[in-house]
Symmetry: C2
Subunit: 472 residues, 2 copies
């Protein structure tokens, strides 16, 4: 159950009106007193709503005059679709990824737009602390012993229940706890594939997943898609008909890096296709909870009737990145993946599972998620506005409806790797688009994370980036 305060409802209504263009830049909002009387709520409630909208940069107050809309809805072009080749390739950008990762946590980096995580100030540190204290006091002996391979029962029950919001119900017996979403995908790929096998992915794809496939000696077919709706179902079908694809790896809700969201109808078709071709779909739903819209998007697993979809997710993007709590719901592949978990590291840390189970039960996770979603939605607009203002006119930007990242396209002649290197000299880190393609074959894209609340330092850094892009 999602509780929304009255002021939040009011702010949401006005926000929607502004973003949709129903009220325009320069329009004056009704006075606090007038609005209060119209809606039959206290003036404090209206003040709080206006305060939030002002903090989001949507309205501004003019002394002795009132509140005015100051948000110009911007509609940059969407990044273009890369061509479809229907050709398996081995991943060949390890050196580039290594260069990119070597700047992670580098002391010279002042502002890291390259890491897709929520800033710590967006996380419920106090409530997690309480869960740490409670779970240890409750049962220190249980927390020190080996946990079962599949994981803490209570935690699996809590995680199974999260699937109710995407219209599907599971028991704890169907869930396996892993060290983050990456491990869920890594165990799945190593359980289901052999070196040389072909995996189909949406392109661009998260560099971590590409590196994983490279490391397992898998071949990759990159299938680009619509900049809004993601992977092309027709192209995927063509690939399945022509190639011995061993598995399909997708991030249907807010693909990293380009933020595409596969529509529910396509998700249904994908689930049916998996069953028809008997090809497992590995579904990475790590961003599924971070939607900007009215309701939780469904998953491919929602439509999975015969267990061909291996659902993978984690709490790393919503609650505690470093704790490494992920899980999978492997359908018909449960036994194989459980065995891989057992021989890889026996089980996930017992104490971290106990802490997390306690938080999910008592920590008001849904309340936290709601605040986090609102923060990300606002930050997304703020970052996009700043980029639009500072970058060369021809920049194209994704319009994600969830997640952490913007996918940006420079004009063809510009090289994002040079932009990355030049920005690093100024203490600013971005993710060059090259790391998201098997062969770094497309050079004019880059990714910016908006996980940190917008500040004047961030505004300045984006100005610097814009200048560097102009100079390329």
């Amino acid at each position: 159950m999602q509780v929304q305060f009255r002021y939040e409802q009011i702010a949401d209504t006005i926000r929607t009106a502004i973003i949709s263009g129903a009220i325009k830049p320069g329009d004056k909002l009704r006075s606090v007193r007038g609005m209060s009387s119209d809606l039959g709520v206290s003036q404090a409630t209206i003040f709080r709503a206006y305060f939030d909208l002002e903090a989001s940069g949507l309205i501004e107050s003019k002394p002795k005059s009132g509140y005015y809309v100051c948000y110009h809805p911007i509609t940059p072009d969407l990044p273009s679709k890369t061509p479809f080749e229907n050709q398996e390739k081995t991943v060949k950008n390890a050196d580039l990824v290594k260069e990119f990762l070597s700047s992670l946590n580098h002391p010279d980096v002042q502002l890291d737009f390259g890491l897709a995580v929520p800033a710590p100030e967006l996380l419920p540190l106090a409530k997690i602390k309480k869960s740490i204290q409670k779970c240890y006091l409750n049962d220190p002996v249980a927390a020190i012993g080996y946990e079962s391979v599949a994981g803490n029962n209570q935690l699996r029950r809590q995680l199974a229940q999260l699937s109710l919001s995407w219209d599907k119900s599971f028991t704890e017996d169907e869930v396996i706890i892993t060290n983050g979403c990456m491990e869920a995908v890594a165990l799945t790929l190593s359980a289901l594939t052999q070196p040389g096998d072909i995996i189909a992915v949406e392109s661009p794809a998260f560099y971590g997943l590409l590196q994983l496939m490279e490391s397992l000696n898998l071949s990759v077919i990159e299938i680009p898609g619509d900049p809004v709706a993601g992977i092309s179902i027709e192209d995927l079908k063509e690939t399945l008909q022509q190639k011995p694809v061993k598995a399909i790896l997708l991030t249907p809700n807010f693909n990293n890096p380009n933020g595409t969201a596969i529509p529910d109808q396509h998700k249904k078709e994908l689930a049916e296709m998996a069953a028809a071709y008997q090809v497992p779909i590995i579904e990475d739903d790590i961003n599924g909870e971070l939607y900007f819209g009215d309701k939780r998007p469904k998953t491919i697993k929602t439509f999975d009737q015969e267990g061909w979809v291996i659902y993978c997710s984690s709490l790393s993007k919503t609650l505690m990145p470093g704790y490494r709590i992920g899980w999978c719901i492997p359908g018909r592949f449960h036994a194989e993946i459980l065995r891989k978990k057992s021989i890889t590291n026996i089980s996930t840390s017992s104490i971290v599972q106990a802490i997390t189970a306690h938080f999910l039960e008592f920590g008001r996770y849904e309340f936290h998620l709601k605040k986090l979603r609102n923060a990300l939605k606002t930050q997304h607009l703020q970052y996009k506005r700043a980029i639009y203002d500072c970058f060369p006119n021809k920049i194209a930007s994704s319009n994600p409806q969830g997640g952490f990242v913007l996918w940006l396209e420079l004009t063809k002649s510009k090289d994002a790797l040079t932009l990355y290197r030049n920005a690093l000299q100024k203490g600013i880190r971005i993710a060059p688009g090259q790391v998201f393609f098997t062969h770094s074959n497309f050079k004019n894209y880059f990714r910016i994370s908006f996980g940190a609340p917008f500040t004047s330092e961030i505004d300045d850094a984006i100005k610097t980036l814009g200048q560097l892009a102009k100079n390329l």
Copy 2:
């Protein structure tokens, strides 16, 4: 620095005298008053030493008479060496291991001798609790973010320093933190091998390692050894000369299950052999700290000059089994293994690393280890005595000088798997020897863990086991 109380020194001296046979069963110990005056210590100190020896079952008090030695040193035959075949095999006992693991944590099991872990009462729960509280208060933000791939700096420094006790010095930069020792070995094998490669191991070998190799489609050459000194260096050399061995996997300090300890001179030869043949040795030193003798046994890594030895260990057998903190010191293979870690699960849980680093710095780990070693040394004698008293005359037993487990051999006609199944009916769990061989080819061995303090319930369970063995 190891601090030993005076009463402990006195108890140690008397224990050595008893076990070596210098004083014999029935011999009367000097009175408390007389001993106190001889040694110039308080009577309370002597009482405490006698109390400890009595608790270990080495002496007994007779009312109004004094303390008498009651320990009969027992010398059962050592288990026999299995034949050497010099033939690679794929591991074929997955079903049996599955059957064995399915009884883990089963509610009907009253006494589990099948799990090689220290009982919770032997672990420093209060001190760990303190570290949990401290590390969270110190820096909640650091503990929630992603840890670096190699792991927490402070923890790596603490773990690197542990190697000083085995005569080698490393910096934190040489250490990679993993989710337990199994993950250290799993990452190493998957970084260094391809399906079909041949791995040489000491036989018998820990079933988890055999299952791991099966899962990676590796072939295994089992090399048996001396029941005290472990793997035969000559047989290993013959194998290296005749077969394209890709790696050697050894547990030189108290091999699981048969407790063999490779002598330092052999360790040196092994390190030299690895360099000469350019074949990496994966050294599992998980039991290295749990020695019963006077000093820490060396490792193969001690003698590694050119980085061919990948040292793997964990705190799972000494401090906190379920926390999953292990590490490796990979020598020349550092980059490959770090990359595998990164793509498998990014990094090990930040908060567990912070807790563990705090404990190692402030929790008096060496003090805890000393108590744990003493407890295990005593338990080892108690269990062995009980087995000797209750089992058929012809039982052979390993004589481990460290670790947790006894390796027992029944007469050839008896089947340990039947013993395992029959014992399970009575709520007692043992490890059938079959799980420790690639093809379950030797049927009359089993493994008993002595990780739990000896009690009358354990005594009774061993009596039951003995009766079941006689009935086979």
